[in-house]
Amino acid sequence: MPMAGTAALRAAADRWLFRVTGPEAAPIRLVQRRIFVLPTGAGIGFACVLLVMLIASINYNLSLGHALVFLLAGSAAASMLHAFRNLFGLAIRPGRCAPVFCGDTVNFQVLVANPHARRRPALRLSALGQSVTFEAAAGDETAVGLPCPSMRRGWLTMGRSVIETRWPLGLIQAWSVFVPDVRCLVFPAPEPDPPALPTGGDGAREARARKGEGDDDFAGLRAHRTADSPRHVAWKVLARGGPMLTKQYAGAEGRELVLDWDALDPGLDTESRLSRLCAWVLQAEARGLRYALALPGMRSPCATGSAHRDRCLERLALFAHAGDAA
């Protein structure tokens, strides 16, 4: 029960004190009502030491002892405002966040702008149980990457994030809670050792094509389309000053590969199916094949290129995650 108690307390604090709701509109400015200040463990230890020193000073009538204790206490109090000032005025914007395969490390990126003429040292950004230390240079915007392990496919949102600092003395901690609009798409993990690409119902046509021209034989050039893989661009032609052309391969030409959910081994569960389809999409794209993805209730057009691949992977990532698709 105590766990549930602290969780409830934290949720209440998030609601009432930090006013954490959904993702906030960028830029998130750290104004004074967003910044909170409390002593750290080291700060409490320091206070205890000061108390002992004060008692000693009173007992031995040490005027300078009083002065020393008061000076240290005053400096610690001033450090509270230094810590506050170290966060004050920062503006946080979401940064780019490249999709990853499940199990890889997500690199959440936020951009922390420091509009003031002094550097902000010893800042710490934490979210999802991970944290990273950085500093924001004067009058500059710093890209901060927060590496996070990805556990499941779908959208991974950065969510409730905390930026904090213990600068200057480590006795006082100033922090601010915010929810940046940063999320990362996590594709299903590709199956490590997938079976060969399916031949399926269109097998006969494919077999014929394969027999005649062989795999990946160069067959000619055509005008470049945006969706074409950069791997197939005729860079040599381009380098000579020619137009941007795409190399066509005979092996790829005739093939109409359909990666079909329903054609998979019925013994596989959903995640395994998605993993296999993911591996196949990557394989087909690597070999420059034209492929289509068929999932229950939808079917993608047959195409090739990185944009097509990403669309297919996104479908796989968000499969049966109706709520996350938005």
């Binding site: 320091f46 000073s57 009173i58 007992n59 005027s63 109090a77 405002l81 480590g170």
Partner: protein, 621 residues
């Protein structure tokens, strides 16, 4: 310095060891070894002090622990603990010395301690930036310190019984005197007490500060006899009155060294039967007393027989030649006063010499002094004189204390040093009571009128600062001592009474702690608000290039060629070049340079300097 020698050596060794480890980058010694060393050192401290409780063993342990802690320091936690130990040790220094230089040292130590804490949190910053950060924290801590120092409700310590060693080893007068046992008088310049007179200070030869009165004599050593005490003086103060405030350095004795003869005292003092003003407890902290003196008060008019008997007792068989001389001088006199006059006349006729390095005296010190060596300082004079008087049947005793003192021209305080320690005599005459006689004045009147330096031959080895020809050095010392005195009076002497006085001056008397707490809260809040305003005050980064360009535009603006808001640097350059054809080239180049630096890659400091120089080079009628 204040630690036993071996502990200082061990601390130095531990620090050296740590330094070597740092230098070689090797790993700290194993825990087990450190534990063994710690135990061994603890046993050493136990043997040295006999116990662990109290100030001295505590400080020694603290110093050793700090050395050991530094040896095993690795994590940030250890460093923090080390810094805290340093602060404790800093406090320990104040047990021994709270002077201005030590305060300055402590300030530097605190700066370094805060710098170390900053370095822990922000290791990327340069050392200078870390120290600047520490300095700004200290500067902002200062107002808090002032408010707390003045307004934090002060409690007079101690809160509990002090360990016995709290105030050991103080120098000063003692309650015994053995003339001839030492061959050189200490001429310590340490300050015994400071005095501020309400009106004109009495003349130098009237400033007798009374210390222990020595009546018992065993032929060599004079000792004080236990005297009765009372809350009121054993005489009725009368005659002219001198008011003064005396700030006594702690000497761990009860006597206040009041000017003869004390009347009232604040805080309350006790009065002894031999006319001393006494503090109820030994004076262990620098304390200020407000006193009044009645120099012409008759004392001891009705002295009791026991006291007079004790004041005429001489050990049988000692100083026979002096006794014979006294008998000869006293023969045929009708009164004690007449005897006194004869003795004084005799001493005046004897060629006695005042010196700080007298020869040692034998088993009849008064005889040796009066008839053989004939040289000595105040103890010899006073002792021999009292022996003569007693031998002549006149009650007499030795009084020790301080005589004279020096007025500091900077702040007007009279400073009395250990080197002003003096011994004189008192003689009891029927109808007049106790009368002060200073036998030293008979041989060396300058000692009493002008101080020790003038009483000695010019070639005597006097400490540098006592010599008359070291004028500038003395001036410097006056300045320094005035500063120290102000420090003592206002900073170190700030105590619950002073705090009450401050409240009274603020018109808040009688409100006590509540008023203090309210004032303190208000002050701290005000400082916080000021700091908050500072923290939220936004300084836009000033772009130096923009600044240079604005300066250029203003300069031309004064010549009637202000830049229009819509004008880019190229257009503006063309326009002003056309208007000022003699400088067209330079103006165009400045505008082009600005445009290049503004819109090109980040501009280098050297390019900016060159641009500023060219802008300075433009001359407009």
């Amino acid at each position: 310095m204040w630690l036993p020698g071996w502990i200082s050596v061990v601390c130095a060794l531990l620090l050296t060891w740590r330094g070597l480890l740092l230098w070689q980058g090797s790993r700290p010694p194993p825990r087990a070894l450190l534990l063994v060393i710690t135990l061994a050192l603890a046993v050493g401290v136990r043997i040295e002090f006999g116990h662990f409780f109290g100030k001295d063993p505590g400080v020694a342990l603290l110093a050793l622990l700090l050395g050991l802690k530094l040896l095993e320091t690795q994590a940030a936690r250890d460093i923090r603990a080390g810094v805290l130990l340093c602060l404790f040790l800093q406090l320990a220094i104040f047990f021994e010395d709270q002077s201005l230089p030590v305060a300055a040292l402590a300030l530097c130590g605190t700066l370094l301690a805060l710098g170390a804490l900053i370095a822990l949190v922000d290791p990327a910053a340069r050392l200078g930036a870390q120290l600047r950060g520490a300095a700004s924290l200290l500067a902002q801590g200062l107002p808090f310190m002032l408010a707390l120092f003045l307004l934090f409700p002060r409690i007079q310590g101690p809160l509990w019984g002090l360990p016995a060693d709290a105030f050991s080893a103080r120098t000063g007068l003692s309650d015994t005197m053995t003339p001839g046992s030492i061959s050189a008088l200490g001429t310590s310049p340490a300050i015994a007490f400071r005095v501020r007179f309400e009106g004109t200070p009495p003349a130098q030869n009237q400033r007798y500060w009374r210390g222990p009165v020595l009546t018992a004599y065993d032929g060599r050593t004079w000792r004080a006899r236990p005297a009765r005490e009372s809350d009121t003086p054993f005489y009725t103060p009368s005659g002219a009155r001198i008011d003064y405030a005396l700030t006594l350095e702690p000497h761990n004795q009860r006597w206040l060294l009041a000017l003869d003869y004390p009347g009232e005292a604040q805080p309350k003092a006790r009065y002894s039967h031999d006319f001393l003003a006494l503090s109820p407890r030994p004076v262990q902290t620098r304390t200020r007393f407000t006193l009044s003196a009645y120099p012409s008060t008759p004392t001891g008019l009705a002295e009791d027989a026991a006291t007079l008997a004790a004041a005429t007792r001489l050990p049988p068989g000692s100083n026979p030649r002096s006794a014979a001389l006294a008998a000869e001088l006293a023969a045929g006199t009708r009164s004690h006063a007449e005897t006194l006059a004869r003795v004084i006349a005799h001493l005046r006729a004897t060629p006695l010499r005042y010196t700080l390095q007298p020869p040692l005296l034998g088993s009849h010190p008064a005889d040796d002094f009066l008839f053989e060596t004939q040289s000595g300082f105040c103890e010899h004079f006073a002792s021999a004189f009292v022996v003569l008087m007693r031998a002549a049947g006149v009650p007499a005793r030795v009084v020790t204390g301080y005589q004279g003192g020096e007025i500091n021209p900077v702040d007007g305080y009279l400073v009395v040093r250990q080197s002003d320690a003096h011994a004189w005599a008192e003689v009891w005459l029927a109808g007049r009571g106790w009368v002060r006689v200073d036998p030293t004045a008979l041989a060396a009147p300058e000692r009493i009128d002008d101080g020790m330096a003038s009483a000695l031959a010019a070639d005597s080895a006097l400490p540098l600062l006592l010599r008359a020809d070291m004028r500038w050095l003395r001036d410097l010392r006056h300045q320094w001592e005035a500063v120290s005195n102000a420090w003592n009076q206002h900073v170190l002497g700030y105590n619950p009474e002073r705090q009450r006085e401050l409240l009274e001056r603020l018109g808040l008397s009688g409100r006590g702690i509540a008023a203090l707490v309210a004032l303190l809260a208000a002050a701290v809040l005000a400082i916080f608000l000021a700091l908050f305003a500072w923290a939220t005050w936004r300084r836009r980064p000033r772009d130096p290039l923009q600044k240079a360009w604005a300066r250029f535009c203003r300069k031309l603006g004064r010549a009637g060629l202000a830049r229009a808001r819509w004008e880019g640097p190229a257009d503006y350059g063309n326009r002003i070049a056309a208007a000022l054809p003699d400088q067209a080239q330079a103006l165009r180049e400045i505008c082009a340079t600005y445009a290049r630096l503004r819109y090109g890659p980040p501009c280098a400091a050297s390019a900016l300097r060159a641009l500023n120089k060219r802008i300075d080079g433009i001359r407009l009628q």
